[in-house]
């Protein structure tokens, strides 16, 4: 378990580029290498601020306690951060030139400060359409109680 430290994240996406699976090497059904991370209230608040989520439900505990949520939760879209936080520098979703074509996400249990989130990530499928190389990925995030917090699928166009 690692408490997510945003300030020591490898921001150079060219690092380890040669270790990442290319489209030719992606095996549908294969699991991607992931690690659990623990989200502090500071990380949740910073994510909210960075994406312009200004509802106090995401950072003001006194306010959040008065709502049906009973306390601060993370914005639902925090899986955007989790996909990078839970994978390694060798994950092919970091490959320069990875172009997002679309996503669908389902939400179940809200993430709360102190939660430890585990990602199960697969390459679900790959195909070639209109001369472009596509991969389909599926990510499922669970909390420390084994509950699904959210799950989603996306399509990316892979660098040729």
């Amino acid at each position: 378990m690692t408490v997510l430290d945003l300030d020591n994240f490898e921001t150079d996406f060219w690092k380890d580029v040669d270790k990442r699976a290319t489209w030719d090497e992606i095996i549908p059904g294969e699991l991607r290498d992931t690690r659990p991370v623990t989200l502090s209230k500071e990380v949740i608040a910073r994510y909210a601020k960075g994406v312009g989520e200004d509802n106090p439900l995401y950072f003001d505990e006194d306010y959040a306690k008065t709502t049906i949520y009973g306390g601060v939760i993370a914005p639902p879209s925090i899986h955007i951060l989790l996909m990078f936080a839970c994978t390694t520098t060798e994950d092919w979703m970091r490959s320069p030139g990875t172009i997002n074509a679309g996503q669908n996400w389902s939400y179940h249990v809200p993430i709360r400060p102190g939660d430890t989130i585990t990602m199960r990530g697969t390459a679900l499928d790959r195909f070639i359409r209109k001369d472009r190389l596509f991969a389909v990925h599926e990510n499922t995030f669970t909390n420390q109680f084994g509950e699904v917090v959210c799950t989603g699928r996306g399509q990316t166009i892979r660098p040729a």
Binding site: G50, E53, N55, I68, I80, P96, N104, R132, I157
Partner: protein, 152 residues
């Protein structure tokens, strides 16, 4: 209010317009720092002179997931005060969004659906740019529920 009462208070056909969002290098940096997505597509002008398969871009592009986050905010800004729980968002990115572009999500409550155990709202999603061109489409689902899942 019960989930059923909250469900009965919203009307099909309601149009929810999100806050317009203008892309700058600062917004791209802020989104990268929030999401940890530092792909050079969003930063490196020289890299963007390359062709990407059959596609070429006119400079750096906004993160697709920034659009996803803005659509999410449009939905939750409307849902949370009404007691609605965001359940699902599906998106398709149609056009790249570039520096200086202003995009606005528009969400329409397309229909309401009562299931065996749930009170559901089904939304259509469109995101237009400053020229009125559609840059993303999608749909979303929300539910009125009497208790938030996972409460302990």
């Amino acid at each position: 209010m019960t989930a059923e009462e909250q469900f009965n208070k919203v009307d099909e056909g309601e149009v929810i317009t999100g806050r317009p969002f203008t892309v700058t290098r600062d917004t791209i940096q802020a989104f990268a720092d929030a999401s940890l997505d530092y792909n050079p597509l969003h930063f490196d002008d020289n890299y963007m002179k390359n062709k990407f398969g059959k596609t070429s871009f006119d400079g750096v592009i906004m993160h697709g997931m920034q659009n996803f986050a803005l659509i999410t905010r449009t939905l939750t800004d409307w849902l949370i005060p009404r007691g609605g729980f965001h359940r699902r968002l599906e998106t398709r990115w149609l056009k790249p969004v570039q520096l200086g572009h202003t995009i606005t999500p528009v969400v329409t409550l397309q229909s309401k659906k009562k299931t065996e155990k749930g009170y559901w709202l089904l939304f259509d999603v469109e995101v237009n740019n400053q020229d009125g061109m559609l840059v993303a489409t999608g749909n979303a689902m929300a539910e009125f529920i009497d208790a938030i899942p996972g409460m302990r």
